[in-house]
Amino acid sequence: MNLLYGEVEDDLRAGVRKLLASRCDPAAVLARAETDEPYDLGVWRTLGTELGVVGLLVPEDLGGAGAGPRETAVVLEELGRAVAPVPFLGSAVLATSALLACEDEAVATLADGTCTGTLGVPLTTPPAAPFPAGVHARRGALSGRVGSVVDLEVADLVVVPAHDGDGPALYVVELPGTGVTVEPVIPLDLTRRIADLVLDGAAGRRVAGGELAVAALRAALTAGAGLLASEQLGVAQWCLDTTVEYTKTRYQFGRPIGSFQAVKHRLADVWATVSTARAVARAAADALATGADDTALVVAVAGAYASDAAVLAAEECIQLHGGIGMTWEHPAHLYLARAKTSQLALGTPDRHRTALADLVDLPPA
């Protein structure tokens, strides 16, 4: 198991960080959050066409960059660090992983960024969830409702799990389309939107059925949960770095507040937690990349640990910033909301631990 970063990954990180620093700084993200264009589709296009990082999971013969989960994880770290409002999780991770598992060629349009997709499940769905039963398909027409779908409002296609005459199946539904309604909700996380998907006889193209559909959905959710740990790591790292800098420059009682032991010890604990989150996130990315036998286990550990780590770092960030941390003006709240909502995303820590109980044979009482 390789838990380190390679040279390619370092280069990728530098490229993405440079782009985000110039086009997506926290003040810009905050300003955009309340506009009619909460997603920064300009940055999204640059990530796809200029940096080519949107198709890292996709093999070259399918129009992708032919990299993999390890590289994708590093991009996610940087996107988390910037709470960048781009549909990477929905499109480049969830929809891409699902279509890859179905060996469907539509993945090529996601890989080069010409098309944006998402996965039609509630964002809270854990990898071990039973196949969803909310959508039914009849002769290619889908009906039903799916709540809290991530990145749906900018999606051109959505991969929808549905039941048809043959049992579980995955369909691709194009947006906008007849019988497809997207109902945006007011999200707790302003930088990652969710919307409800209402299907009423919408046309769908069947891309997988039966065991393949079940396996493809699980693969997408597993990849999502495992890679989300890296995004959470990026969120946590920003919170730690920003708080450390603040406590070095904020003076009270004639000293920088960072010189007080009460502050130091809290930050030392955050640092230790972030260091640990890095190890579990790398382990998950590596397991996904190598297809290790214990991938489900390593992903569950990462999901359980990194979620809480990000929440701890974000909550400590607010507390140690004092009053300024409670203002709208300071971007800390964007990170708090991202950390808290991503704690629920793709399996809460508790659901990951429940999955682990089964995987490592520690049965309930």
């Binding site: 450390v244 010189s259 230790a272 890095r278 640990y305 990951h352 631990r353 490592v360």
Partner: protein, 423 residues
Amino acid sequence: MDACRGQEPLENSDKPPCGGGGTGLWLCGAMIDADEVRRRTRDLLRACPPADTDRLEFLRARFDAGLAWVHYPVGLGGLDAPRALQAVVDAELDAAGAPSNRPRLNIIGLGMAGPTITNVGTPEQQQRFLRPLWTGEEIWCQLFSEPGAGSDLAALATRAVRDGDDWVVDGQKVWTSLAHEAQWALLVARTDPDVPKHAGLTYFVLDMHAPGVEVRPLRQLTGEAEFNEVFLTGARIPDANRLGAIGDGWRVSMTTLMNERVAIGGAATPREFGMIGIVARTWRDRPELRTPGLHGELLRLWVEVEAARLTSERARQQLAVGAPGPEGSAGKLSFARLNQAVSGLDVQLLAEDGLRYDDWTMRRPVETDPAGRSPGYRYLRAKGNSIEGGTSEILRGVIAERVLGLPPEPRTDTVVAWRDLPR
């Protein structure tokens, strides 16, 4: 190991302890490769077949061949070779059934005294001490902590006063493992009370069998005595056994402690290694003990222990590619916290059996194997994990200042003469 003293250095270092490690390693590294080391090991095995050679004689010959610790200087048991080549030697010797120097019986000697003597010792001291240290003929202990100097090691009060060619030492040391078995001790004592505390210390090698050295077992809350108290009353040390310059004791101590950390940096461990494995087995074997609340707690700790294991593994990988990061220092913090939590859960899970203890007899183990003791023992012993080798509070301060670069606390104790410090 000295259980209760401050530990300031933290940076992982894979540098060999020899002073000229940089260029020497580079120059010699080009000549000494795995093949060369293997050839020399086979030469040794031919000259001293383990089956027909006395154990100590073999170990001495191995030392003289530079195969004791290959990253040490030539002539001091090494070849000035990269540390990684030691594995080649060890594999060859293991395969040939060669005797071991039983490193676990002389941890302080190998982990701390060896590097310190190599770094700051005179050639005479190096020739006198290193070979019997490495072969295990002479056991070492470390006299650092005192009743009044735990986390604040530099405040120590044991006095060494010059008397002709000797130093006369008076004071009390504590938390000394192996003192009752040791021939030699690493000793830090105050030689000048009129300067600030860090400046008035000097480092010595003390003969533990000298008159005026009294060792008493220090019984712990577990019932046993892993450590000792050492009382020094007019004990004499020849000036020839001073390590480093007069007043340079703090710097030399830091060398010792830095090497302790490198020595401790361990091997990869498997999943469910240690206490969590014990609890997990109980959980699997005894369904009647399970409750929903304990299930939640067990899973939470299982995840944290696995995450900590991956963190150590990542630190190990960083070290292996020559890019040590500070992450290793998170390891001790989480190890201490998790050991305490898991051992507490273990006792709780066992219900009636958790009420029982195996043995309160005062014993003096050289090595302890918590897995072989009762859960109550493990619970009690784990309390020391956040105290020994640097308390968790000191460690957090060190991380905050050295890793995160936070400003130091305002201090007055470093600028006034030691004599004037409140105590």
